[in-house]
Chain length 202, copies 2
């Protein structure tokens, strides 16, 4: 049921743009637009500027593939981190969770996704070649696969494990202390620290 | 649990700004930010521009208080609309719904909210004086109160009814009753009681 009313163009355009956010349908988008325009103009301006700045200033770190302002992010440039261990995660949120466990001092690689054959997301989409080059820098000795313990995360870990071992690298997986079927982002930091300590080679 | 990881500033700022959207917590905001930056840069640009344009180009119509690009919106300037009837709604979405019924050819006034004493939203916040001036233009004969049939909407309608009648205007309310196309067996008893009380001779 499309509104036959001549809504002003800028309002229509804003509702359309808000609908591109994940999980936002037309009703939510309309509610968000009304809220911003009626009650939070400064929030609308702030969001508009934050989007422009993020698009302009963020790129992928050349080493870990995470979001970064610099060519190489502060974590990857930190000489105090152990360059012989590389932890592979699906998203920056997962990296945050591992970091907050204070159980890890190595480096990271952020896949920005996971293999999902049913959604048509394969190894090319995730640029596994970049990860293989990164892991083959001569410094990395061990790769810890910290993808989620979901079906897709396990598939991704299994697939990467084969590729990385073929390069002569030692590969491990977070210990099964993490409840099966759960996403790392929602697991408490203590469990993650324990699972890091108990990691097994695969 | 704040992320101790040095997230890049533009990413942090974007997540903060997305949190100002109604119904969006920190996890949703982060997911939205990742999605836009990783999978939909053009969506991020589109939303940024739509927000800037909406803030710049939209204002409240001087007559109906709805969002408008012009001083007076196209609906209020339309000479084919019946200027003797004014329909009062809570939001532009409600106006859209009434318009889509094709049962109304009069004009509108959009409250952009409703009385909600528990949230501290009173008559001043909704600028009822503007509505009273609009309804007192000498052309309006009847005001139809089409606020929602919720506790707040009913309170608002009752309050406005007194004010408008004191100005000598004829005031009506949308009829309550059994929804068109519904079976009595599945209609709640309160609605049936109302429909009985408000029964009309045929
Ligand atoms: Zn990096
Ligand atoms: Zn208007």
């Amino acid at each position: 049921m499309e509104a036959p009313l001549p809504e002003p163009e800028p309002l229509k355009a804003l509702i359309e743009a808000l609908r591109r956010l994940p999980g936002v349908g037309v009703r939510s988008a309309r509610r968000m637009a009304y809220h911003l325009l009626q009650h939070d103009i400064s929030g609308a301006e702030q969001l508009g500027q934050a989007l422009a700045a993020a698009v302009r200033d963020l790129r992928h770190c050349a080493r870990c593939n995470g979001f970064s302002e610099a060519e190489v992010c502060p974590t990857c440039s930190n000489p105090k981190r152990d360059a012989s261990v590389l932890c592979v995660v699906e998203t920056p949120a997962d990296q945050n969770m591992i970091e907050s466990s204070h159980g890890y001092r190595g480096l990271y690689y952020v896949l920005m996704g996971r293999l999902a054959p049913l959604e048509g997301i394969g190894p090319q989409d995730l640029q596994f070649d970049r990860l293989l080059r990164r892991a083959g820098d001569g410094q990395v000795q061990e790769v810890i696969l910290a993808t989620n313990f979901t079906a897709e995360g396990e598939t991704t870990a299994h697939y990467l494990s084969e590729l990385l071992r073929a390069q002569g690298l030692s590969v491990s997986r977070l210990a099964r202390g993490v409840p099966a079927g759960s996403e790392l982002e929602y697991v408490d930091a203590g469990t993650i620290a324990w699972a890091l300590m108990e990691r097994r080679s695969t």
